[in-house]
């Protein structure tokens, strides 16, 4: 089989979508654990953030891969959505999707688009100022700044609300995305029931944990 045929196949696309999703979920998990330290210890949060922000492997290898992963996942999501819409040119006059599938599974493009828009806001809030601080203004290293920068951002009730709503959409995206990614890579066996439960726990704990962190700093600044 020609490699070009593999890359064009529907299964290869869904596996690529799943693998990029799994990669983003792993990133999300580590982001969650690091941010959660800010609730318990400003010093720990500062130390980890300083490491992540200045380690060459993280900055120059993992960070670009992460950004490419997000862009790939988003573009592939749109490509698949357009292809899927073209597969049914005439819609049903009456379609009862709720009878056989979850809302989150049918609306991944909507929740995904909201998350992507949120990432724009999130980059504007944290990533761009960080890049300017380090690489444009070339400020001296300051390990103690991260916690205060985080808390300062969540003083705004508008930003806190915006983040919280976005995390609810993230939860809905993960509700389907976690288990869907496992199915796409071919994982469906006697352990799947337990894995499904883990997926639902992940889809609740991580996004609502992020909401908790945002609210915690909003009310404790």
């Amino acid at each position: 089989m020609a490699k070009s045929a593999l890359l064009k196949s529907s299964i290869a696309k869904k596996v690529a979508m799943a693998l990029s999703g799994i990669f983003l979920m792993l990133f999300l998990a580590q982001h969650f654990f690091i941010n959660m330290t800010s609730v318990f210890s400003a010093d720990t949060f500062n130390s980890i953030s300083h490491f992540m922000g200045n380690n060459p492997l993280v900055q120059y290898v993992i960070q670009p891969i992460l950004i490419l992963g997000v862009i790939f996942h988003f573009i592939m999501g749109i490509v698949l959505e357009l292809k899927n819409r073209s597969a049914r040119p005439i819609s049903y006059a009456k379609n009862n999707g709720a009878a056989n599938s979850s809302w989150s599974s049918r609306n991944m493009i909507i929740t995904g688009a909201v998350i992507f828009a949120f990432l724009g806001v999130h980059f504007y809030d944290f990533w761009f100022p960080e890049m300017v601080y380090k690489y444009v203004d070339v400020n001296p290293l300051n390990e103690a700044r991260y916690f205060h920068e985080l808390v300062a951002k969540f003083e705004s009730p508008v930003r806190t609300a915006l983040y919280s709503v976005s995390f609810i959409l993230l939860s809905l995206h993960l509700w389907h995305g976690f288990n869907s990614s496992m199915q796409s890579v071919g994982f469906n066996n006697k352990y799947s029931v337990a894995l499904h439960k883990l997926g639902y726990v992940f889809a609740i704990v991580v996004p609502f944990g992020f909401i908790f962190i945002a609210l915690f700093h909003h009310f404790n600044h």
Partner: protein
Amino acid sequence: MKLTLKIWRQKNAQDKGAMVDYQIDGIEPDMSFLEMLDVFNQDLMGKGGEPVAFDHDCREGICGMCSLYINGEAHGPDRGVTTCQLHMRMFKDGDTITIEPFRAAAFPVIKDLVVNRSAFDRIQHAGGFISVNTSGKTVDANAIPIKKEDADKAFDAASCIGCGACVATCKNSSAMLFVAAKVSQYALLPQGRLEATDRVLNMVAQMDAEGFGNCTNTGACEVECPKGISLENIARMNREYLSASLKG
């Protein structure tokens, strides 16, 4: 029972088609859905109308010929049944029932509620078989020991009747459940392993060429499948396809 039927009418493949409202009376709860349509057509012809074309054959849930998207669901609101096994007791007197053809670019409408599902035939021709020497020296299938669990799973996959409810139900018009069932029924058996690599590659290539959408794992196909074909088959096909791609 007195019912309002909203039925898709389309003269031929070129016609644009539209939903048309009809009234019908005297429907018994014990009638099957297709019997209701028979009575309806008889009544319509008596009034000089053109009967509604719809697919049917065995009328006992085996052949996979009957289709129909009824009130927003493939084969209607009941579970584990084809349209011929759906009974009017599932509806109430005074109900409005919307009846549409299975919708997919790969299943073009021929007339009214009849769609062309020969895309499934072409996928089968691409690899949904095993090459057996039929010259009289064929090895008895029972001579090859097969684990009970594998035999059961292969049988479950083989119970797919190719009705197309999975495609009709899927929001992406994906044929993954159908193709996965056909791939799985052979992938699990020693007789099927010999051609497993070519089979999955060729059947998936044909599936894609027919214009079906991509599977996004909503699971709707499994719920609406009259034979209860499991999503486990799709995961197996994904594995088969990836391993075949690496070999091929």
